[in-house]
Amino acid sequence: MAQSSVLNEDQRDCLQEISNVAMGQAGDHLARLLDAFVILSIPHVNILTPTEIAMAVQTIDEHNVSGICQGFIGGGIAGEAMLLFNDTSFVDLAKLMKFEEELNEVGERELLIDSTNILVGALLRGIAEQLDIEFSFGPPAIMGQHQELGKLLMSNNVRWDHTLVIEVNYQIEDYDVQCDLLVVITESSLPRLFGKLEYLLD
């Protein structure tokens, strides 16, 4: 294991604090955009292996999870945000997003992509601001609509051993909308990220 893959207590606390602040900001922005109350969860910061990530997301729901991925890169830090939605909440999600088009397959796809873009953007913007960097984002891509999560994760050839994951749960009051957001940061970005953290800690 590379030395940089190990997260010390200070670094973890610092990342935790950054994530907490970012989540608070995201909740505020989202509440204004969506006219709904976002129930904030405490983000989890962890160093994980691919198998651990697979296990972490499998506990959410064995079936009917839509996963959408969005890549981000900037300031020497790159990664992918993965949003996991429960399929049952499409109608509520549409109401929340003021999405008025027909909820057929194409409509569902667009709804998922728009929601992901907003939820991911809201959190990552807050993180980037605190690290004094700016991320550019790629278009969100749907990984396996109506497909089992196990297959989703196994179908990818994973090329890394350890990585940093920030896990956040979004819940919207009065809507049947619940999703988990996993921000997976590439192994090669970790030295740069820890460098930024050192700077903040000093």
Partner: protein, 324 residues
């Protein structure tokens, strides 16, 4: 500011404008009222509208193909969250409808596009306008669509029996398994017919295999004509056929089996100058709670078929489930 640095600034500005003009993606700048402020060469070339003609005009008035409500919803989050928004060809094939411009290698009717909407801040940090970046992804979209079509075709081929066009055995068994699982939950009527061409070996021995194939094909054709769209017919073995009849009780299944039997009995298959008459024997078994598996269900229909064979062939027998 000295004259020199002023000149340098003008030079820098010109380089940047050159790049903006010539980059091979569409760039459009919109103010808060959706009036067009920048229209680069890519956009000019594909829309056949010069910058002079379009700058200052409203986006929706100039391009009625853009859904204003949809566009507004996308843009709203940009102003509030200061993030980008995206649309890909899989959601909407295009933002601006540009015709395909390559008469020889162009395979699409129009340009497939991915678009990114990015916020542009003014000097005070407020978002004053929005930049649209339009990518031509026609090649990628067409390749993807063709791959999908090819995969669908392959899937159909892999499920079909080449000679008869019915489901092949494994595909039919998949359907049966699914239906069986469903029936265990919903307890509806459903029947299974299995039938077999009588003395088929003689047809092959007397007239040759091509004649035998013709007989197999004709029997499948008659079956296909007799059943409903929701019924699932398959070729189970060499001269053995199966039909799964959802929402059908045993009496109706028997009527259908009789109809196929009579049609085949009255049919003469012509192969070159040979005339062949043949008959078929049927076994019918309806779904019953006592059935433990899909295989047990086929076995029960098979037993009824065996009974038909024992009792002189060219007839329909019903499997009687005993309540235990």
């Amino acid at each position: 500011m000295s004259e020199l640095s002023n000149n340098e600034m003008m030079n820098d500005f010109r380089w940047i404008m050159d790049v903006v003009q010539n980059v091979d993606v569409g760039l459009v700048l919109l103010d808060k009222d959706y009036n067009i402020k920048l229209w680069n060469s890519f956009m000019q070339n594909h829309s056949a509208l010069y910058a002079e003609e379009i700058i200052g005009k409203n986006l929706f008035e100039s391009f009625p193909e853009i859904d204003e409500k949809w566009f507004n919803r996308k843009v709203e989050s940009i102003y509030l969250l200061k993030n980008s928004a995206f649309t890909t060809w899989e959601q909407r094939p295009y933002l601006f409808k540009f015709d395909n411009y390559r008469p020889i290698t162009g395979r699409a009717e129009f340009m497939y596009q991915n678009s990114t909407f990015i916020p542009i801040q003014d000097l005070t940090g407020e978002i004053s306008s929005i930049c649209l970046i339009v990518y031509d992804v026609t090649e990628q979209a067409i390749n993807n669509l063709e791959l999908e079509a090819a995969n669908n075709k392959l899937e159909i081929i892999s499920q079909t029996d080449g000679l008869t066009g019915l489901f092949n055995r494994s595909a039919w068994e998949d359907q049966l398994e699914k239906e069986f699982d469903r029936l265990q939950r919903y307890k509806e009527d459903c029947s299974l017919i299995i039938f077999d061409i009588d003395h088929f070996k003689k047809v092959n021995d007397n007239h040759g295999h091509p004649a035998g194939d013709e007989v197999i094909k004709k029997a499948a054709e008659i079956t296909q004509k007799c059943i409903r769209k929701t019924d699932i017919a398959g070729r189970y073995g060499g001269e053995e056929y199966v039909v799964l009849l959802p929402h059908t009780n045993v009496d109706c299944a028997e009527i259908l089996a009789e109809r196929i039997r009579k049609k085949i009995e009255g049919l003469t298959v012509q192969y070159e100058d040979i005339m062949i008459n043949f008959t078929v024997s049927f076994g019918v078994s309806s779904y019953h709670d006592s059935l433990k598996s899909a295989t047990a269900w086929i076995d029960s229909a098979d037993k009824a078929l065996y009974e038909s064979k024992e009792n002189g062939r060219n007839r329909v027998s019903i499997f009687q489930h005993t309540n235990t």
